[in-house]
C-alpha cells in the first residue's frame, strides 16, 4: 500500500541484504535490454506512405532510448553503492529474510489456478487458489482453510456470476445449479 514516498530511508538502503545488489543489477540490466529490444523491434515497424512527418517508429525509439539511458544510469548508481529502498508496509517485517519458498508457492498456485479454470470451472480453481495461498502463508488448521476457500469461492460465483451476470464458468460440478450461472 504505502510506497515509502517520503524518502524515509531513501538511497541509504538500510535493510539491504547482501544478495540484493546482484538482483538489482539484473533488474536494471533488464531495463537496458528492454530498451535495446525496443530499438531492434522498432526498426521492423513498417512505415506506410500515408504516415506524415512523424511515423509510427518515432515514439517507440524515444521510449527505448529513455529506457537504455535510465537503465545505464541505474547500473552506474548501483555500482557506486546506491541501492534502492525496498518498499515498506504495515505487514512487512523489515527484519526477516526474503522467504522465496512462500513466493514460489504462491506463484505455483496461481499457475495451477490458471490451468484449472477451463477444465474444472472457476469456483474450483478459485477455491484451490485460496486454499493453497492461505496454506503457503501459514494459516492453520488446514480444514478451516478448506472450508473458507470453498465458501468464498461459492459466494463469489453466486454474487458475480449468478447476480451480476459476470460470465465466470461454473464448471461441470455446478453446471446444473441455476444460482451459479450468469
Amino acid at each position: 500500500m504505502s510506497t515509502s514516498l517520503n524518502g524515509t530511508s531513501g538511497g541509504r538502503g538500510t535493510n539491504a541484504a547482501p544478495s540484493r545488489p546482484v538482483g538489482e543489477l539484473v533488474f536494471a540490466g533488464l531495463i537496458v535490454c528492454i530498451g535495446i529490444v525496443g530499438f531492434v523491434a522498432g526498426a521492423g515497424i513498417p512505415i506506410p506512405p500515408s504516415a506524415g512527418v512523424v511515423g509510427p517508429r518515432v515514439f517507440p525509439y524515444l521510449v527505448s532510448g529513455i529506457m537504455v539511458a535510465i537503465g545505464i544510469g541505474l547500473i552506474i548508481q548501483l555500482l557506486r553503492g546506491h541501492t534502492g529502498a525496498a518498499e515498506e508496509g504495515e505487514d512487512i517485517d523489515p527484519d526477516v529474510k526474503t522467504d522465496w519458498l512462500t513466493v514460489g508457492k504462491l506463484v505455483g498456485f496461481l499457475a495451477v489456478h490458471i490451468a484449472l479454470i477451463v477444465p474444472l470451472g472457476w469456483p474450483v480453481a478459485a477455491a484451490v487458489l485460496f486454499f493453497g495461498s492461505a496454506w503457503s502463508l501459514g494459516a492453520k488448521p488446514w480444514w478451516r482453510n478448506a472450508i473458507i476457500a470453498i465458501v468464498l469461492a461459492l459466494i463469489l460465483q453466486f454474487v458475480f456470476a449468478g447476480l451480476l451476470g459476470v460470465s465466470l464458468p461454473p464448471g461441470f460440478l455446478l453446471e446444473g445449479v441455476e444460482i451459479f450461472n450468469g
Binding site: M1, A41, P56, F59, L74, E90, L110, H113, I114, G165
Partner: protein
C-alpha cells in the same frame, strides 16, 4: 451562476435513493479497503472495474467517487491504530496520531482526523466546483503543443518526484510507456512490438496491468517478508461521543482550515500529490505551535494529526481538477479513475464539462454526499474498522489473490489474461523489492498513447520542427513552472529528511502511512 444551477441539478441526481445507496456502498467499500493494509483505493477501483460493467455510468462513477474519498478516511484509521513494532522507518505525519493512541488519546486522534477530513473534503469540493469549470474554459483553448507540455509536466513530476529515487521513478514510467506501445498504432494501424502474436496485437489491458501490479505484486511482496503473529491494534478507550474535549476542538480548528488551504492547491498542481501536502501542513503546524505544544510534536500533538489529515483530503479533491478538466491524472488512484471513465466512453478533458455536464456534476454532488456519509459513519463504526484491521493476514492476502484472479479473468474471460496477471504481478514484486514506485508505470500506460497522439499532431503542425514544442508562450510558461516545481520539491525533500531525523526519537514506534500517493 450557471455552474451553481448545474451543481443543484447534480444534487438532484445524486440524491436519488438508488444513487445514495451506490454512494453508501462506495464509501463503505472504500473505507474498508482503506483500513486494510495491502489494498489501496487505486487497486480497489481497478479490481471493481471489470465487475461493474453491468452498472450504468452514473452509478459506476458514484461508486468510484465513494471509494476515492472513503479510502482516505480508512487510511488514517490504520495509521493511528495499527501498532507495528520495529518498523525501520517512519513518516512523521503518521507518527503523531499513533503516539496519541498509545497515550490513550486514540479516540481524539480518530475524531480530529475524521472531522478534519470532512471539513477539508467539503471545502475542497466547494473549491473544486468553482475552480474546475474555469480551468476547463481555459483548457478548451489550448492546442496539442500545450498539451504535450502539460503531459511532460505530469510525467516528470509523477515519475521523478514520487518515491525516493528519481531514476527508479523514471524507469517505472518508461516501463509503462513501453507496455502502452504494444499493440496497434492508432494513427497508422501498424502493429508495434506484437512479435506476430495475435494476443499482443490487442494490446495489454491497463486494468490487467494495474490489478497485477497493485494486488498480485503486493501480495507476493508481503508474502516474501510477512510479519507473523497476531495483528496488534491499539485499543480505543471510551465512547465515541466523548472523543473530543473542548481543548481538542480549540487546538484543531485552525489546523483543519490551514490544512485545507495547503492541500487543495498542492493537489491541483502535479507536485507529488497528497504526500507533499501532508508534509507541508505538518511542517507549518509544528512551526506555528508555541511553548509546551511545540514540545508535544513527535509525542502526539493533536495539531500534527488535524492539519495533515485535512491537507491529505483537500489534496485528494484538488487532484480531481486536472483529472476532470485536462484528463491528466497525477496519482495512481486518479489514473484508475481516468480508466474507469474511459471504460464508459467518457473522455475527461476540456470538453467533459460541456459534453458530459450532467454526469460530472452528479459526480461532484456525490462527493459532497459521500463526505457527509463518511463523517457520520466513520466515528460510530470504528469498532467494525478495528475488526477489519484484525483479519488474519494469510486470509487477507489469499483473498486479495482470488479477487485479483477474478478481476483479470473477467476482463476478456480467458485464462491467458490471468497468465498476464501473474507475469506482471511478478514484475510488481521485483519493483517493490528494489524500490521502484508503481504509480508512474500506471500513469505512463494511461497517458502514453494520448501523449504520443498529441506529440505527433503538434509535430505535424510544425512540420517536424521540435523547437515549436517549446516556443509558444503558454508552453514555455508551463516548462518554466515545471522547473520551479522541481526546484521547490527537491528543497522540500531535504527539509523533510531533516525534520524526520529531528522529530523521530531513537526508538520510534512507527506506522507507515496509508495514503493516496502510494498507489
Amino acid at each position: 451562476m450557471d455552474n451553481f444551477l448545474a451543481l443543484m441539478e447534480g444534487f438532484s441526481v445524486a440524491m436519488q435513493p438508488i444513487y445514495l445507496l451506490y454512494a453508501l456502498g462506495g464509501v463503505l467499500v472504500g473505507t474498508a479497503v482503506g483500513v486494510l493494509p495491502g489494498i489501496g483505493p487505486a487497486m480497489t477501483v481497478a479490481l471493481l472495474m471489470p465487475i461493474t460493467y453491468s452498472l450504468d455510468p452514473t452509478a459506476a462513477i458514484i461508486v468510484f467517487a465513494g471509494i476515492y474519498y472513503g479510502g482516505m478516511y480508512g487510511g488514517s484509521t490504520t495509521s493511528i491504530l495499527l501498532n507495528t513494532p520495529g518498523e525501520s522507518a517512519s513518516i512523521v505525519t503518521a507518527l503523531e496520531g499513533n503516539k496519541m493512541a498509545k497515550a490513550g488519546r486514540g479516540a481524539a486522534a480518530l475524531a480530529t482526523a475524521a472531522i478534519g477530513s470532512f471539513i477539508a473534503g467539503t471545502v475542497a469540493t466547494v473549491l473544486l466546483s468553482f475552480v474546475a469549470p474555469y480551468v476547463a474554459e481555459f483548457a478548451v483553448q489550448i492546442g496539442p503543443t500545450e498539451y504535450v507540455a502539460l503531459m511532460i509536466v505530469a510525467f516528470l513530476t509523477v515519475g521523478a518526484l514520487l518515491g525516493s529515487s528519481v531514476l527508479r521513478g523514471l524507469a517505472s514510467l518508461g516501463l509503462g510507456l513501453f507496455i502502452a506501445l504494444i499493440g496497434v498504432d492508432a494513427l497508422t494501424a501498424q502493429q508495434r512490438y506484437t512479435f506476430g502474436n495475435p494476443f499482443l496485437a490487442d494490446g495489454i489491458d491497463v486494468v490487467l496491468v494495474a490489478v497485477a501490479l497493485f494486488a498480485v505484486g503486493e501480495a507476493l511482496y508481503v508474502a516474501s517478508r510477512l510479519r507473523h503473529g497476531p495483528v496488534k491494534v491499539i485499543p480505543v478507550a471510551g465512547r465515541w461521543t466523548s472523543w473530543m474535549r473542548k481543548e481538542d476542538w480549540k487546538r484543531s480548528w485552525k489546523p483543519w482550515l490551514r490544512g485545507t488551504f495547503i492541500g487543495f492547491p498542492v493537489g491541483t498542481i502535479p507536485a507529488g500529490g497528497a504526500d507533499v501536502a501532508t508534509f507541508l501542513s505538518y511542517a507549518s503546524e509544528r512551526k506555528l505551535a508555541k511553548g509546551e505544544r511545540r514540545k508535544q510534536f513527535g509525542k502526539g500533538a493533536i495539531e500534527g494529526v488535524a492539519g495533515p489529515e485535512s491537507a491529505n483530503n483537500a489534496a485528494a479533491a484538488g487532484v480531481l481538477v486536472p483529472l476532470l478538466t485536462l484528463g491528466i491524472p497525477t496519482t495512481a488512484t486518479a489514473a484508475m479513475m481516468l480508466v474507469a471513465f474511459q471504460r464508459y466512453n467518457i473522455q475527461p478533458g476540456p470538453l467533459l464539462f460541456e459534453v458530459e455536464g450532467a454526469l460530472v456534476w452528479a459526480l461532484i454532488a456525490s462527493l459532497y454526499v459521500g463526505n457527509l456519509m463518511l463523517l457520520v459513519l466513520n466515528l460510530p463504526l470504528v469498532g467494525i474498522w478495528v475488526k477489519i484491521l484484525q483479519i488474519p493476514r494469510p486470509y487477507l492476502y489469499s483473498g486479495i489473490l482470488v479477487f485479483a484472479a477474478m478481476g483479470a479473468f473477467s476482463v476478456n474471460f480467458t485464462p491467458v489474461d490471468v497468465f498476464v496477471l501473474l507475469v506482471v504481478g511478478v514484475l510488481g514484486f521485483f519493483m517493490r523489492r528494489y524500490g521502484y514506485p508503481i504509480a508512474p508505470l500506471v500513469v505512463g500506460i494511461i497517458l502514453g498513447p494520448i501523449f504520443e497522439d498529441q506529440l505527433r499532431r503538434s509535430l505535424a503542425i510544425s512540420q517536424g520542427d521540435p523547437i515549436a514544442l517549446v516556443s509558444t508562450p503558454i508552453a514555455a510558461t508551463i516548462y518554466i513552472v515545471l522547473i520551479v516545481i522541481f526546484a521547490l520539491s527537491f528543497w522540500l525533500k531535504k527539509r523533510q529528511k531533516a525534520m524526520e531525523s529531528e522529530v523521530v526519537d531513537p526508538t520510534p514506534v512507527a506506522v507507515v502511512e496509508q495514503k493516496e500517493g502510494g498507489k
